[in-house]
C-alpha cells in the first residue's frame, strides 16, 4: 500500500496492537476505528463503562472489545489494555490512540515506522511542542497550561517530555513489561505517571512531532488540569 509517499507492507503491522480507550464517544468512535482499520488489523477497544451508544457501535465492528462495567477513567482503561497486551505474546508493540478523534492515523503510521526502523528505541511518544506549526494549532490558553504542566512535571517528576499529556504512544513489549504494568492512577493523572515511569527507566525513548485536531467538543477540558495537579500533589501514587 502507498501512503505518506512511502510503500508500506501492511503485513509488517501484524506485530502491532492498537489500543483505543473509549468513554461516551458515540460521535467519533466509528470514524476512529474505520481510519485505523485501513492499516492495522489488530485493534483493541476498551469501553470504559460508556452510557451512550459507544458500546453498540464497537460491537458492530469486527474488532476486539473489552468492557468495564463501570466508568473508571482512561488510566484504568489503558491498564486493562496493557494487561491484555502482556497476555497475548504474539504482539511486539502496542500503540495507544485516543477515541475522541484528536489523533491522526498519519502520525500513528509515522511513529510505527520510526519505532520499527530504530531498534534501540523502546517507546515513541507524540508531542505537540516539537514543531512551531503544530504548536500554533493548540488553543492559546490550553497551550500555556500545557507548558506550565510540562514545567511542573519536569521539576517534580523528572519528566523529560516536552508534551505533558499526549495519548499517542507506541511502546515495545519490554518497556510495558518492566515499567508500565500496574498503572495506579485511573483518571487523567495516569499520563503524568506514564511520563514519570518512562523517564526514570533505562529504556531509550523519543518524541515525535504530531498534530492534534481540536475540533472535537468532547475532549478534555482545561479545568481538568487543576484536578490532575491536585491529584498528583495529594496522592502518594507514582
Amino acid at each position: 500500500m502507498l501512503t505518506l509517499g512511502k510503500k508500506i507492507n501492511l503485513n509488517s503491522f501484524d506485530q502491532f496492537l492498537i489500543l483505543i480507550p473509549a468513554y461516551n464517544e458515540e460521535e467519533n468512535i466509528k470514524k476512529v476505528i474505520d481510519s485505523i482499520s485501513i492499516f492495522f488489523k489488530n485493534i483493541l477497544i476498551i469501553d470504559d463503562g460508556s452510557s451512550d451508544k459507544t458500546l453498540d457501535i464497537i460491537l458492530k465492528s469486527k474488532f476486539t472489545c473489552l468492557r468495564h462495567p463501570i466508568n473508571l477513567g482512561q488510566g484504568a482503561a489503558l491498564g486493562t489494555g496493557l494487561d491484555f497486551f502482556i497476555k497475548h505474546t504474539n504482539f511486539k508493540y502496542i500503540a495507544t490512540f485516543d477515541a475522541d478523534g484528536q489523533h491522526s492515523v498519519d502520525d500513528l503510521l509515522e511513529m510505527v515506522l520510526e519505532i520499527k526502523s530504530d531498534k534501540d528505541i523502546s517507546c515513541i511518544v507524540g508531542s505537540r511542542f516539537l514543531l512551531k506549526s503544530t504548536q500554533k494549532n493548540i488553543p492559546f490558553i490550553r497551550r500555556y497550561i500545557l507548558i506550565l504542566a510540562r514545567f511542573y512535571e519536569n521539576i517534580f517528576y523528572s519528566s523529560k517530555f516536552t508534551d505533558a499529556h499526549n495519548g499517542l504512544r507506541v511502546l515495545k513489549r519490554d518497556i510495558v513489561e518492566k515499567c508500565l504494568m500496574n498503572i495506579e492512577n485511573f483518571d487523567m493523572a495516569h499520563a503524568t505517571e506514564i511520563s514519570y515511569k518512562i523517564s526514570k527507566s533505562k529504556f531509550k525513548f523519543k518524541e515525535y512531532p504530531i498534530n492534534i485536531n481540536y475540533k472535537n467538543v468532547n475532549s478534555q477540558t482545561i479545568l481538568n488540569s487543576i484536578n490532575i495537579i491536585f491529584k498528583n500533589i495529594f496522592s502518594n501514587k507514582k
Binding site: L66, G79, T80, N90
Partner: protein, 118 residues
Amino acid sequence: MTIYAKTIFFIIIFLIYSLTYIFERNNSTRAIQKILITSLIIMMIAVIIAPSFFVFGSANLLGVGRGPDAVLYLYIIVSLAINFILFRKIAEAESRITKLTKWIALNINNKNSNDFLN
C-alpha cells in the same frame, strides 16, 4: 497558645498524617488507629463527666489558656484525622473496584478476545 503547644499541635497532625498515609495499612497500624479512637472516646466521656478537671487541666497543660480553645484544637486534630483515614479508605476501595472491574473486562465482558491467542 505557647510555642511549645503549637509545636505539639503540629507534631500531632503530622503523626496522624504519617499513620494514615505513609505507613502501609496493616494490622499494626489498624490497631494503633483503634487505640487512638478508643482513647479519644474515653477522653470525650471524661470531659463530659468532669469538664473542669479535664478541659481546663489539659488547656493549662498545653498552655492554651482557655478550655474552649483546647476543645477547638482537639476538634481540628480529630476532624483532620478522620479526613485522612476516610480519604485513605476511599482510595483503597477505589483500587479494589478497579482490580475487580479490570478482571471482569478481561475475563467476562469481552468480544473476540480469543482471536488473538497464539
